[in-house]
Every structure is written in C-alpha cells, then in structure tokens.
C-alpha cells in the first residue's frame, strides 16, 4: 500500500518485510546468478556434487566450446541481421499508423483501432499456423522474411504506444503547420516525428528484447543450422543423446547478458510502456 500510514508500522513488522523482500530478490535472481557462475567455472564444475555455490575457479573453456563447436558467433550475427530490419520496420511503420489513429478523422476509426487492440491479444498459435501456410506457399521457409516483413506493416502493441503518446501532443502544433501550408506528411515528419523520442525508445527496447528472445517463430521458419538465431541455436544444442552443459551455460549466459544490460540501462522506458498499456487499456 502506498499510504503514508504504512510507513510507520511496528519495527518487527518492518524487519519481517525486509526479510521477505530479500528472500524474493534471492529467489528471482538466483537462476541468473547460477547460469553466469556455471558458465565461467569450466566443464568440470557442471555436474560436480556438492555444487560450489560461489565460483571456485575461472575457466573460459565453456565459452570456447560454445563458439568452437556450436558456432555461437554465427547465430549472434543472424540475430543481429534480423534485429536491424525488425527494429527499423516495426518502429517506423507503427509510428506512421499510430499518427493516423491519433490525428486523422475517418469513418471506422474507432472500430479499426479496436481491431488493433484486439489483435494484441490474439494467441500466437492461432496466427502462426495460418502464417506458416502462407509463408510456405511464398517460399519463405529458411529465410528471414517471415520474421521481418510482417513487422513493416505495423505491430499492434507499438501502434497503441505511439497513438497514446501522439494524442498527448497539442493539436495546435499540427494546425499551425497546416495553416502554414504543410501537408499531413509534412506535419508528421517535421512536427510530430521529432517529438516522438520517448515512445521510439520504448518501442525499440521492447522490440530488441522481443527479437533477441524470439524462439518459437525462428523454430518454425528456420531449419538450416547456418540460419539459426541465437535462441534457436541454444535450443538446438539440446539433444536427447548428448548435451554439452558447459557450452549451454556459456551460450545461455551470453544470451541473457544483452537483454539484461539493455533492461538495466533503459528499464524506465520498458516499465513506462507496460504501465501505459495496463492503465490506459
């Protein structure tokens, strides 16, 4: 409760709350801690029993096998390729569409915007089977096109974020520019776009995390190992016959590292978007 009244509880209750919070922190951070520790402890430490809860040695052998045997760098590069086009396409197209929904008046606007909102909630498996049939027919299997092209047509959640932000920009800005002879495209590119830094950062952070972690779509569309993305590559290191847990820990640690860094540096934008979506919806 945010009430000031709760700030002045009995000391024993405060202590209990601190203990609880510490336990929660440890529970949530421990798996991440564990993967980092196991990645730098060398292959011997993987199934050592009892396990060293604190790192006992430093060895980069796990990383060597992750890069050497499993071509982790290739998967990194593939993810980056998709990333560039996904970030560009999703943010640009969604900002344009968001502007249309925020500023233009046309028949069916509210109904269409409701469709945008509803499609945020459409389950993945309901749209992936139809899309899989379509992209197979187009010959897009084993290309990055299924992971990139749809994003250039606006991403519902990002359209929503841009639209919400643009409605908060005073409409007088648009009007005075139109009176000065600016076209709508001119208003968008010269007046609105320069003001959209906060939603752009929110959308880029989201999209970065989404593409970086996207696993099920690459799993369905990419089945040549040379095309694997980072998370798909990690999944395919799992095998029923033999698992190199050391390499897996190293690869997992690296794959966790980047989103975690981005998250800690830019978390206010991530939370901002989330809260916006939750309260305004």
């Amino acid at each position: 409760m945010s009430g000031g009244i709760n700030g002045t509880g009995q000391p024993s209750r405060r202590l209990l709350l601190y203990v609880l919070m510490t336990v929660v922190c440890i529970v949530f951070i421990f798996p991440v801690y564990w993967v980092f520790i196991k990645s730098i402890n060398g292959p011997i430490a993987i199934f050592q029993y009892p396990p060293d809860v604190f790192p006992a040695r430093l060895s980069l052998a796990n990383f060597q096998s992750a890069f050497g045997t499993f071509h982790l760098h290739r998967n990194f590069l593939n993810t980056l390729k998709i990333m560039v086009f996904a970030l560009l396409g999703a943010s640009l197209s969604s900002s344009v569409v968001g502007y249309g929904f925020a500023r233009m008046r046309f028949r069916g606007r509210s109904a269409l915007f409701l469709v945008v909102i509803a499609s945020i909630f459409v389950p993945w498996d309901v749209k992936v089977i139809p899309q899989f049939m379509e992209f197979s027919a187009l010959g897009w299997i084993n290309t990055y096109l299924p992971l990139i092209v749809p994003l250039w047509f606006g991403f519902p959640f990002y359209i929503f974020i841009f639209r919400q932000f643009i409605t908060q920009i005073p409409y007088e800005l648009d009007e005075s520019a139109i009176l000065d002879g600016c076209t709508r495209v001119g208003v968008f590119s010269r007046i609105i776009l320069p003001n959209l830094k906060p939603p752009f950062i929110t959308v880029l952070v989201y999209e970065f995390v989404r593409v970086w972690n996207d696993f099920l779509d690459p799993l369905i569309y990419l089945n040549k190992s040379a095309r694997y993305t980072l998370s798909l590559g990690i999944y395919h290191m799992v095998s029923p016959w033999f698992m190199d847990w050391g390499a897996l820990m190293a690869a997992s640690a690296l794959s966790v590292l980047f989103p975690v860094l981005v998250f800690f540096l830019l978390q206010k934008y991530l939370f901002g978007g989330l809260i916006l979506s939750g309260l305004k919806a």
């Binding site: 919070m21 199934f47 049939m133 047509f153 997992s252």
Partner: protein, 301 residues
C-alpha cells in the same frame, strides 16, 4: 481545436496513414486466418489434394486415445493452477514493494528480470537446476534430509515442476499491479484506519476493489499466455516423461510443424481459440459485477 466535420481529403490521408497496418492485417492476419479456418474442414497436409472432410477434424480432437484430448485435460489443469498462482504471487510481491522499503526499486528490477530472458536460456537454467543427482534444488533439500526429488523425471511431478517455473516469470503482471496499487488514493486508507479497519480489512475492502480493473486485465493476459504455453515444455521436458507434459499446445505444434497435418492442426488451433474466446468473454461479462470503474461503466476497453 479540431474542426467538426472531416474533409474528404483528411479522410483519405487518414486511410493512407493507417494503410500499412490495414494491408498487413488483411495479408498476414485476416486472410491467412480465414484460409486456415477453411483448411480446418479438410485433410490438407501440403502434399495431398485438399479434400473436404466436414467436422471430422473437430470430432477427432475428442476421440478417446487421441493425444489432443489428453493434452487438453493437462492444459486445463495447468491453466487452473498456474493462473491463480501467478496472480497471487505477482500481487503479493507488488504489495510488498509498495511498503516503503529501502531497495524496493532494486527488488522490482530483479523480479522483472526473468521477463527479458529467452525461453531456451531460461528453460535450460531450470532444467539444469532440476537435475535429480546434482541439481541445486535437491542439494538444498538434502540439508533437510529430503530424499532427491525427480523433478522432471517422474511423470507425476513433471507438470508441477513446469508450473513452478512459471512463477519465476511474473514480472509483467507484478509491474501492472504495482502501478495500480500506487494509484489507489491514500485518503481511503487513512479514513479506514481512523475507523479502526485492520490491515487485512483494508486490503480486501479498499485495495482489491480499487485495483479490480488491473486484476481483470492480468487474469486475461496470464490466461491467454498459459493456455498456449509451449517453450518451457519444448526446452525443459520435451513433452515427457511418458507424455506427462505433452500439453494441447504441444500436440498442436507437432501436428502442424512436425507432421504437417495442416487440416487437423488448424482445427486444433481454432478450437483452442474458441475456448480462450469464451473464457475471456465470460470474464468480461462477469466483470460488471466485480470490477470497479470510476465512470460507473464496467468496461475497460
């Protein structure tokens, strides 16, 4: 301010601005989904000619001995357990973090952290920790003289272990709850305390009704996500042991992308969509009774 009547020119440019989404929606969503709805009444598998089979694919979901029916039962059990657990966990943590504690911001970040970790990386960490002989869980339990538990090797336990891993990823609902809790006006609590209401009483009589719109939103989001849970099953248990974690979504995935039975898989996905739609609509309908809204209308969209 804005003029009342929109000019034809403005209307046209409106459609132009939203045209990327409109085209994408027709080409990548609505079109393929209609196609898949049609395919769900055929036996299409990419190779054979498409033959109309009526409702046979839908009947097949319920035929005894089919993985789909068994998977559906497990999925329902999973959802019935996972949704309340995630709701209680995320709300409890959010409530804890609104107490003015030092370091609450750090705790908030740490709790959200798993949400930015990929399915394979996160799943593998759990799989590693679940190891019966050398995993950390059984190591810690050994201090309390608990015999090693076969977390993901015993068919009776595996599904519950997966449910446990889901509680790690409550960052998103927790953040929404946190924002909602911080939005409850403090005067309500102050007035209640003056009247001598206990902490629990204040929680149930003020907090819960005030955050009920967020409760509804979180229930819907979590439920939709849990009905289609797939990544942890693929990564942690591969559907096993003895099909104990071969949930409906996994059956659907295998039929669609392993066996390429597009007709049956389409029927499976449309049936699941129907279930989710019905449950969501029921939730929204019932929400008029339990969701508080300042405008007096029980709608959140």
């Amino acid at each position: 301010m804005r003029q009342i009547g929109a000019t034809a020119r403005e209307r046209l440019s409106g459609y132009l601005f939203i045209s990327p989404w409109l085209i994408g929606f027709v080409v990548f969503y609505a079109g393929p989904m209609l196609f898949s709805f049609a395919v769900s009444f055929t036996n299409w598998d990419f190779f054979k000619n498409m033959t109309f089979v009526g409702l046979r694919n839908y009947f097949r979901i319920f035929s005894p001995g089919e993985d789909a029916l068994a998977g559906l039962r497990k999925t329902l059990l999973f959802v019935v357990l996972e949704v309340p657990l995630q709701m209680v966990c995320s709300l409890a943590i959010a409530q804890l973090l609104t107490e003015k504690l030092r370091g609450a911001n750090v705790a908030r970040s740490l709790v959200y952290l798993p949400a930015v970790i990929s399915g394979p990386a996160g799943g593998l960490i759990w799989r590693y920790m679940f190891n019966t002989q050398t995993g950390i869980f059984n190591y810690v339990l050994s201090f309390f003289n608990v015999k090693p538990i076969p977390w993901i090797e015993d068919p009776r336990i595996a599904l519950f272990s997966i449910i446990g891993t889901g509680l790690w990823a409550v960052g998103q609902p927790m953040i929404l709850f946190l924002a909602a809790l911080q939005g409850v006006p403090t005067v309500f609590y102050e007035a209640a305390e003056v009247d001598g209401a206990s902490r629990w009483r204040r929680f149930f009589s003020i907090t819960l009704p005030m955050i009920s719109p967020t409760i509804l939103l979180n229930v819907v989001i979590i439920m939709i996500n849990q009905f289609q849970v797939l990544a942890p099953l693929l990564v942690i248990t591969s559907g096993g042991p003895a099909k104990a974690t071969y949930l409906y979504s996994f059956v659907e995935y295998n039929n669609a992308f392993k066996f390429l039975k597009m007709g049956y898989a389409s029927a499976l996905s449309w049936f699941m969509f129907l279930i989710m739609l019905v449950v969501t609509l029921l939730l929204f309908r019932s929400s008029r009774r339990w969701v508080y809204s300042e405008s007096g209308r029980g709608d959140i969209l």
